[in-house]
């Protein structure tokens, strides 16, 4: 009996040792980032590394706003993220309702078109898409970025899957009561699909906030750049400004961290939904 207990203690100890090691591996870069963001450039690579600077240089967090148009970049990203998230939510939940709850001609073929494109990575058609947008005069505009992100097949899939789980009899009863399809969508389906909506919101938010290749290809004017490519531009221009680079990096991570921590549950739900569907 006694040996079984010691066995368990050893086993638990080992599990914690591994987990703590891995957690440190994940956290050290972030800790280093914060630490370096509070230092003079010359102190960043001083050995031994000082995790908590003796004189934290908070001024880095002030200077960064004047050194580059960080507020403009942030504003652009916030604007794009909000518009894309709203559009994505509206158009995909709307379309998903028809695919899940309505009988109509061409339903299967239209849905097949969505499925077929899921297998095509964006990188395969990003070049002709850009040429097409350029032809429409949309190169170097925010509208292009919005269009790029707002009509993804992923949203339609996610919402459709959730709607399929809602009983048809609910819609039937409402139809008998004389409710229009728009009414059913608005008053019954939307309120019921809060978990799926939250999942879609957090996915779209994080994707748009972190998007890199899209803005890199499309946005050339500095005042139109997003936080990500603005930050990259800053890193290229002032590669030795370690303290400022890290301060800007910390700032750019905060919104994602907040959204992630408060909606983590839905994020996990979204990943799982995708994997079960396959």
């Amino acid at each position: 009996m006694e040996s079984k207990k010691t066995n368990r203690i050893i086993k638990n100890g080992l599990v914690y040792a591994i987990l703590i090691f891995l957690a440190l591996m994940m956290l050290v870069p972030f800790a280093w980032m914060i630490s370096a963001s509070l230092k003079f450039n010359k102190d960043v690579f001083v050995i031994p590394f000082q995790w908590i600077p003796t004189e934290p240089r908070w001024k880095n967090y002030v200077d960064i706003w004047t050194k580059i148009p960080l507020s403009k970049f942030t504003l652009n990203t916030v604007k794009l993220t909000l518009i894309v998230t709203c559009l994505q939510l509206f158009t995909s939940s709307f379309a998903a309702y028809a695919f899940a709850k309505l009988q109509f001609k061409g339903r299967n073929i239209l849905f097949l078109a969505y499925i077929a494109t899921i297998a095509v990575p964006w990188q395969v058609y990003m070049v002709p898409q850009f040429m097409f947008m350029r032809k429409l005069g949309l190169a170097d505009t925010h509208l292009a970025i919005i269009i790029l992100q707002a009509f993804s097949a992923f949203g339609v899939f996610l919402m459709r899957q959730f709607y399929e789980g809602i009983s048809d009899s609910l819609c039937e009863a409402a139809r008998i009561d004389g409710m229009t399809e728009y009414g059913i969508y608005l008053k019954i389906m939307l309120p019921l699909s809060k978990p799926a909506i939250s999942t879609l919101i957090i996915f779209t938010f994080v994707n748009t906030w972190n998007d890199f290749l899209g803005p890199l290809i499309y946005l050339t004017t500095e005042s139109k750049k997003t936080l990500q490519i603005g930050l990259k531009m800053f890193i290229s221009q002032y590669s030795a400004e370690y303290g400022l680079i890290m301060a800007a990096s910390v700032l750019s991570l905060i919104p994602v961290l907040v959204v992630f921590l408060s909606l983590q549950k839905y994020f996990v739900a979204g990943i799982t939904a995708g994997s079960v569907k396959g």
């Binding site: 297998a119 095509v120 058609y125 990003m126 898409q129 990096s249």
Partner: protein, 296 residues
């Protein structure tokens, strides 16, 4: 009756239209255009010139393209198994009822959602070729090894990229594995321990076989994502102007450079079609595999 069906169709189309129009014009259209462009010569201004499979012949003669293909394959060959094994291990550890489970899950998952530019900036500093970098300090003081040049040397650049990729994405696949583990019935384990099977035996004879569909899904997803890699390479190996050398050139980077720096749009589309063919092949394998699991 017919009129009613007609009206019902119209209502349904009105639901689909906002998304489908955007999708058809800006996704479906360009996909078809990509198929056409791959067989043409085009600089974006002058008219397209049809060249048959000329672009593909040129591609495979070109050193830069073939090394981009080789690099992408090497990157996948290392990233897929390492990510998969670590993600599985983590999922098993974090599926147990231990204290701080949610904390560990959150910490390990966070790098996946953290924006790449910020995280890559730290990595570039941790893995700086200078001796003062934390990784080189670790190598010299703990392992008594020579400092490495990491992303700055053609010998270690892929290693640095692979390590970063595993670090950033393993949390995502851990979550998928966690879902898979939760789908395994407790009864199986109970029956096995009644039969006297130890933890290792249970792992080999229950966990691994039961997770087969999940492992299959994860390896397919991972492989496809590896072939789409671009931004990690751009951030870690791109230097200040974002130009990647031959040693770290990957497929999507080649497409990007050919299209938006050299304006050889036909050739870029041909390379994109090669990427598509690879991804499609992997997807078909997945479909077949899923059918097998469904029959089991």
């Amino acid at each position: 009756m017919r009129k009613r069906q007609f009206k019902r169709n119209l209502v349904a189309y009105s639901f689909i239209a906002p998304n489908f129009l955007g999708f058809a014009i800006f996704t479906l259209g360009p996909i078809i255009l990509a198929l056409v462009m791959a067989f043409a010569e085009w600089d974006g201004n002058n008219p397209m010139k049809f060249v048959g499979i000329g672009n593909f012949i040129e591609l495979f003669k070109e050193d830069r393209f073939t090394s981009s293909l080789v690099n992408t394959i090497v990157y996948s060959l290392f990233t897929v198994p390492f990510t998969l094994i670590i993600a599985l291990g983590l999922a098993i550890l974090l599926n147990q009822k231990i204290k701080g489970r949610n904390f560990f899950r959150t910490v390990i998952f966070f790098p996946y959602v953290a924006s790449l530019v910020a995280v890559a900036a730290v990595w570039n500093m941790l893995f700086t070729p200078a001796k003062g970098g934390i990784m080189n300090q670790l190598l010299m003081n703990v392992f008594h090894a020579q400092p490495l040049k990491w992303a700055a040397s053609s010998g270690t650049v892929m290693l640095t990229i692979i390590m970063f990729s595993v670090w950033k994405n393993m949390g995502y696949y851990m979550v998928i594995y966690l879902a898979g583990l939760q789908g395994i019935s407790e009864d199986l384990y109970e029956a096995a321990s009644l039969d006297g099977a130890g933890a290792w035996k249970q792992f080999v004879h229950i966990t691994i076989p039961q997770l087969k569909p999940t492992t299959f899904f994860v390896s397919i997803m991972l492989t496809i994502n590896c072939f789409k890699v671009y931004d990690i390479v751009y951030m870690l190996a791109g230097g200040s102007n974002g130009v990647v050398g031959k040693s770290a050139m990957v497929l999507v980077y080649y497409i990007y450079e050919e299209a938006f720096r050299n304006w050889k749009l036909g050739k870029a589309s041909a390379a994109a079609l090669v990427l598509f063919a690879i991804v499609l092949a992997i997807t078909i394998i997945q479909f077949r595999g899923e059918k097998n699991y469904a029959n089991d």
